[in-house]
Symmetry: C2
Subunit: 582 residues, 2 copies
């Protein structure tokens, strides 16, 4: 500690919100270099190397071979698959001195596909599984929570190559098992959820989400074992209902541009015949957003959903990708005078209607159901407007928020919601990339077949962040032993030179046995400061060589439980080694 490049901080960094992020900065593991771009300090490097080691070990265990593709890549392969454009603003693009287009790799499907195409030609060469671990780049709009969502980050990406879908399934299952082993070893709570395969194309895909209330992802679970990222949930279309409403009628509803004001006005001025109160669930809310396509064009989209639900931005983004979602603003309303803001209804929406805006309905809107919705005139709503009788839309969209208590997609369970952080993602890509780039091999019959691929990612730097979020207390970080920056943190809590001599000896003996130590040998720092630093840094075992020495004992403290015990100084090394090996 007297020479370690480290200065612990007593104050939280201004730009950090999550506890783990604050502690990683305060304890000197990482430092911010630019928004979303971090430097790894010596303690951080130790943890990172251990996480990389675990990932590498588990990849090699399933026979995946390590390679390393460049981070700086030529444009052409990404043009061939469309990702040069589809990635939009998330892709870092640059030009070299000869004006050639380059990019910083976000993932490497294209490059792996081309390398295999170049080297392999027969079904006998397959199956093949390759992985790499290196810096990836994404120009995130909102870099977040330090290393949880950075713009430069280390990812382990892997790819499998098989001649048919049976082979792909086997590779996928192998990676799934390997990921379970990796995340079990890393030491945080996670769930495996069905995932949307998004911009990657392909079919089956699952995510490993760290369960964390500060996570950006929301997932659902039911009591029968179903679990899915909300982006991947397909809410079934509500079954048609018998029409019971009378004919639709427009009513004056002045000053009711929101669902809340509308419901209040309905209950005050338009009581129902059966005496029930109106609620937001009786209203049909029509939300308009602007889609920004990767080619630069913009196009509005209208979404009709029950008034008691909001549009879930991530579910919507998933549905419209690679387009990005922007707000439909004042100037946009000016371009569509038929839209009465706050009173928009199906009368103006739809490709065949006056606005010509594509109009999609939430699947909860059953055919035959009656709604209160905008009458496309300021201060007016239409009541008893029946879906299928009085209006139709251009299709449906999975964009409404899901709620605690909603039915599972199979109709047999009840959903609960929780939040998570994506730590791993396994995809059955299928032939999308192989087709775009012409990766074919000869099969047993001598016929050319397109290779089928899987793609498998682990956020390596992110894993360090998640472990920190999941393993801390008021005093600091509490590392799981397998990835701690050291096994033991030895504090000399005395000014007596005998304590230093004894501690030197203990450190030497431990290192000789292969036990990694952090040794707080700072001569002029008070024991209190040293204890605080040890708790902050979070090595699992803390050893105190101090006043107990007079009685022939030193103290061993378990960082996680706080349990302390004194051991005779003569057995100290053995006792510590035993503690470390547990």
């Amino acid at each position: 500690m007297s020479t370690l490049f480290l200065r612990t901080l007593r104050e939280d960094p201004a730009d950090a919100e999550l506890p783990g992020h604050k502690l990683l900065v305060r304890a000197g593991y990482i430092r911010r270099a630019a928004p979303g771009i971090y430097t790894w300090l010596p303690l951080g490097m130790k943890v990172l190397a251990k996480v990389e080691g675990i990932v590498r070990e588990e990849m090699e265990r399933i026979g995946s071979q390590e390679v390393r593709f460049p981070a700086l890549l030529p444009r052409e392969p990404y043009d061939a698959t469309g990702r040069w454009t589809e990635y939009g603003d998330n892709l870092f693009r640059l030009k070299d001195r000869k004006d050639a287009d380059l990019l910083l790799g976000p993932t490497h499907e294209e490059m792996f596909c081309l390398a295999v195409k170049d080297m392999y030609s027969s079904y006998k060469d397959l199956p093949l599984s390759l992985f790499q671990m290196q810096n990836k780049y994404r120009d995130e709009a909102r870099p977040r929570a330090g290393i949880l969502r950075g713009r430069e980050f280390i990812m382990k990406d892997a790819y499998s190559f098989d001649v048919d879908s049976t082979g792909l399934q086997k590779a996928y299952d192998g990676f799934r098992e390997a990921y379970i082993r990796i995340f079990n070893r890393l030491g945080f709570e996670y769930v495996i959820v069905q995932a949307d395969s998004g911009a990657m194309g392909g079919s089956a895909s699952e995510e490993f989400l760290a369960v964390n209330e500060n996570g950006e992802d929301t997932f659902v679970r039911d009591e029968h074992g179903y679990a899915a990222n909300v982006e991947a949930v397909v809410v079934p279309q509500a079954a048609p209902v018998e029409v019971t409403a009378g004919s639709a009628h427009v009513e004056d509803t002045p000053d009711t541009p929101t669902i809340e004001t509308l419901v209040n006005a309905l209950n005050a001025n338009h009581p129902r015949a059966d005496g029930r109160s109106w609620t937001g669930a009786d209203t049909l809310k029509n939300v308009i957003v602007m889609l920004h396509h990767p080619d630069g064009t913009r196009e509005p989209l209208a979404i009709g959903l029950p008034g008691d639900r909001e549009v879930d931005p991530k579910r919507l983004e998933t549905q419209v990708a690679p387009a990005e979602v922007e707000a439909f603003e004042g100037k946009d309303f000016a371009a569509y005078p038929m839209l009465a803001k706050g009173y928009i209804g199906p009368g103006a929406l739809g490709e065949s209607k006056s606005s010509a805006i594509r109009y999609l309905l939430d699947p909860l809107v059953a055919e035959g159901s009656a709604w209160v919705t905008g009458a496309d005139e300021h201060g007016k709503h239409v009541l008893d407007l029946v879906h299928g009788r009085d209006f139709t839309a251009d299709g449906t969209i999975q964009a409404a928020e899901l709620r605690e208590g909603d039915l599972s997609p199979d109709g047999n369970g009840t959903l609960t919601l929780a939040r998570g952080i994506e730590m791993g993602h396994i995809f059955q890509l299928g032939t999308k990339y192989a087709e775009a780039l012409g990766l074919k091999v000869l099969d047993e019959q001598g016929k050319l077949v397109t290779v089928t691929m899987g793609s498998y990612g682990v956020g390596v730097t992110r894993a360090v962040g998640v472990v920190a979020e999941d393993n801390n207390d008021q005093a600091g970080l509490v590392w799981p032993r397998e990835i701690a920056p050291a096994d033991v943190h030895i504090v000399v809590a005395s000014k007596d030179s005998a304590a230093f001599v004894k501690a030197d000896e203990v450190v030497r003996e431990l290192e000789a046995r292969g036990v990694e130590t952090i040794y707080d040998d700072r001569p002029k720092v008070s024991p209190g400061v040293k204890f605080k630093d040890a708790e902050l840094i979070g090595v699992p075992t803390i050893v105190v060589v101090g006043k107990g020495l007079a009685n022939g004992v030193i103290e061993i403290k378990d960082r996680r439980s706080g349990h302390r015990r004194e051991v005779p100084v003569d057995h100290a090394v053995d006792e510590i080694a035993r503690e470390v090996a547990r």
Copy 2:
């Protein structure tokens, strides 16, 4: 080998010139992804990891601490030191989605300096030594020889921080020793030469050059131990000589725009009084180049040197850096009508002359010496033009080529020339960066002093390339044991299943003893192809399990010497392990 991601090539790759580069591609260690940008295949990753391991071990041995700064960096610190501009076209620059300027780090002096500034404040915190190993980026005009000069490459860069120059010298000496250990372990011939500190600023600096006839660097040595990169050689100014020439006189020398034609014409039409022949050494050649400054401006420069020498482009570039050297072309001559191409003389050159072009003389041009040189008129030269009497220049420049047999700078030795590849560079940067970025600490007297820095680099991926250039033969690569992709390459040279069973057993036992193996278990590949592949891949020990098995023996071959011996199959594992441990 039946599953390894590898296809050896019988043909040399079209874009490779050097033997090591050809073999690294043919043997499946690396693959070109774009000009100057390479992919590392599984065999290459093994070698790379071992080289990285050696470098890390030797850095940690001298107490340097590993960190990792981002590769994607903000512009501001590089503006503060001027390198954003000075790096010119060699720097990869890009913009993020918010239009902020970013760069891909070529080296990280600025970032390290700022981190230390932020964390340290006292002389008690020093000395400090930090290193990192990661991708660096330079947009080379001429990427070359595969991984020897790439645009994305792995470099180990390290920085030392001291309170005074005594501390810096100690740090520098420590790195020097560590580098000697690293390069001795890597297994190629190298020399330590005085170096120019170039764009990095600072004072003392040495390079570790791999001795290689295909190298881009030229260095000189003398018989007394002096060694320097030609860029760093300072040729002493020739002592003044007594003027013996008569007065200068212009002569008609039609059609003599080159030194050769001029010398011939002089000998034919203007014989010397003393009967000696004219040679190129009697003529003063004036070369004009165009300097391209980082700020985009262009400026001509004239260099006067003995006609029997050429301007050395690298020595010139070093002198004019950060400006780049371009040709002075036809359109440039048009802008300077006073320059008679092929007959340019000191009469038109110099800041006070008609051209106003800055004119610098080679230090071999002694005051008092007489020359034949251009008379600034087509077809005319001036004879007996005496330096100091008839013309002067604006200064001197170290730009002429050095020659075998030239005097050493100290005048006591004779130079020999050789070529090399820069593998390591150690610099005493001094306070240049610390001053630009305000890195100061309080000294023992409580006074703020600027920290003095050293900077130390090793080309890690380049080292793999150099070892390959230095260790190969007609049949393929010949790896030094410490960085070979495996210890033993086991070939089954038989279709007999007993041979496979025995080889499986040998491989299993070797692996259990920690011996790394490549196992050629391909069932349908002929022994000849397997032998060829083994020689090409270049693992130091090759074991053949084949027809000898009938007589109870297997063959052990030393890849480098070609020496073969048969050992009883029962002792094979012991014998191989002994061979590997040598």
